[in-house]
Every structure is written in structure tokens, then in C-alpha cells.
Symmetry: C2
Subunit: 137 residues, 2 copies
């Protein structure tokens, strides 16, 4: 048992068991370029192993979030959507007409955030920046 992916190692290092459902869900997250919600992850997982349950998807997402392997987003009130967290940090611009998600980064905004929090007496633990926009023609 040597061919462990980055994620699989992350699971084991957290003292968690590497089960079949977890392997499948991790593979789906690796292959997903989008930001699927629990139901979508469940559907994709069911194609690989029909025995997986939605409850396991939810439990796995919670565990993966706690180990830092995935990020949970709650865009505008729908179901939570997930993405892997190994890449560089980025924020999101959501196309209000198509629902498409464009990723971007801004070190300057990050720095301003840190400075603002510091001024208010806080240390930033997490943050969320989402832009909702319409494509210009």
C-alpha cells in the first residue's frame, strides 16, 4: 500500500482510516475543477461505487474540512460547495447570470484585510471574499 496521494497521506497523518468511500471522495475532489456541493459529490461517487451514502459524503466533507484538505463555501444561501484546499489561496467571483465561478487572488487585498483586522484588535483566522458580477460586453 504505497501509492498514496497527497490527500490520502493527509487523512492517515490525521489518525483517520483510509476507507473505500474516503478514497473515492478524495479522488473526485482531485478530479473536480468546479465547486461541487454534497449532492453532486454523492452523484459522482455513486458512479464509482453505488454503495456510498449521502450521509458519508457529509461526514467525509466535515472531516476533510477539519483536516484542512478541503474548503467549504456557502455562496449566496444555497447548499455548501467544496473545493480542494491544496492549491494557492484564492477568492471567487460568481457570475450572477450563469453561476460560473472565476477564481482570483489579490495580495494587496489580503494585506489590507490583515491591517484592518489588526487595527480592530483582531487576528484573522479565516476570511471570505466573494464578488458577484455580470459579464461586460
Amino acid at each position: 500500500m504505497n501509492e498514496l496521494s497527497r490527500y490520502e497521506r493527509q487523512i492517515k497523518q490525521a489518525g483517520l482510516r483510509l476507507t473505500a468511500p474516503r478514497r473515492i471522495i478524495l479522488r473526485i475532489l482531485e478530479q473536480s475543477g468546479d465547486h461541487p456541493d454534497a449532492a453532486e459529490i454523492f452523484q459522482r461517487a455513486a458512479k464509482m461505487d453505488a454503495r456510498i451514502s449521502l450521509a458519508t459524503v457529509y461526514r467525509t466533507m466535515k472531516v476533510l474540512e477539519e483536516t484542512g484538505a478541503v474548503e467549504r463555501h456557502a455562496f449566496q444561501g444555497g447548499p455548501a460547495r467544496f473545493e480542494q484546499a491544496d492549491r494557492e489561496h484564492h477568492d471567487h467571483l460568481i457570475d450572477i447570470e450563469t453561476g460560473a465561478v472565476v477564481e482570483f487572488t489579490s495580495p494587496r487585498i489580503e494585506e489590507l484585510q490583515r491591517a484592518i483586522a489588526e487595527e480592530l484588535g483582531y487576528e484573522i483566522v479565516d476570511h471570505r471574499l466573494e464578488l458577484y458580477g455580470r459579464k461586460m460586453t
Copy 2:
């Protein structure tokens, strides 16, 4: 019937009826310095008129949001929380230990957001910036 508040006028100008439940909910929002969710608004409203239903609170919040009288926030996955929208725009820093919400503004961040969206070919319709922090000692 002349003593209409800013909000009450906003309701009428939108062609909506100024009913007792709406008056009460509007008064609660005016008096609230915090960011209550629908259940909290309902509880506060019940003290003024026990006949008000939670369904009406939800329906009223939707209407008020559409008329631009209130803003809806979906902080980290809990119930939606509301605040009046007549004040100057601001963002939120949420204390992860107490749940307290600190408001702040940053014109420089706003401008950077606009520039980023423009670069990506988008016009910003709305945005959300939330910092989650821990109080420094």
C-alpha cells in the same frame, strides 16, 4: 396617516401594503443594532403582537430585501441574518469565539475589487467580504 418612517415610505413606494406585521418588523429592524436572524426577529415581533407568524417574517424579509430596505447575510452556514440597508456600505468581521460582528469599511479594498472584476471582464453587482478573527490580547 402621516408619521411614516423612511422604511414605511419605501414599502409604499414599492406599491406594497403597509400592514401591521410589516410595521412591527420594520420597527424592530430600525431598533436592532445587531444582525438578527428570522427566528430572532420573530421572537422580538411576538412581544409586540403575538399574532405574527414566522412565515410572515420570512415573507417580509424577502420583500424588504427586494425593495432594498434590508441586506441578507449568510455568515458561515447558519441561518440568514439581516440588517437594515440604509446606512453606508460596510463589511463584517466576525469574532469566531463570541460570534460578535464588528463592522468596517475600506474604500481601498472596494476599489481593488472593482479593478479586479474589470480585469476579469466583469461588472460587480454585489460583493461579500467577511473576516473571521480572534481577539488579540
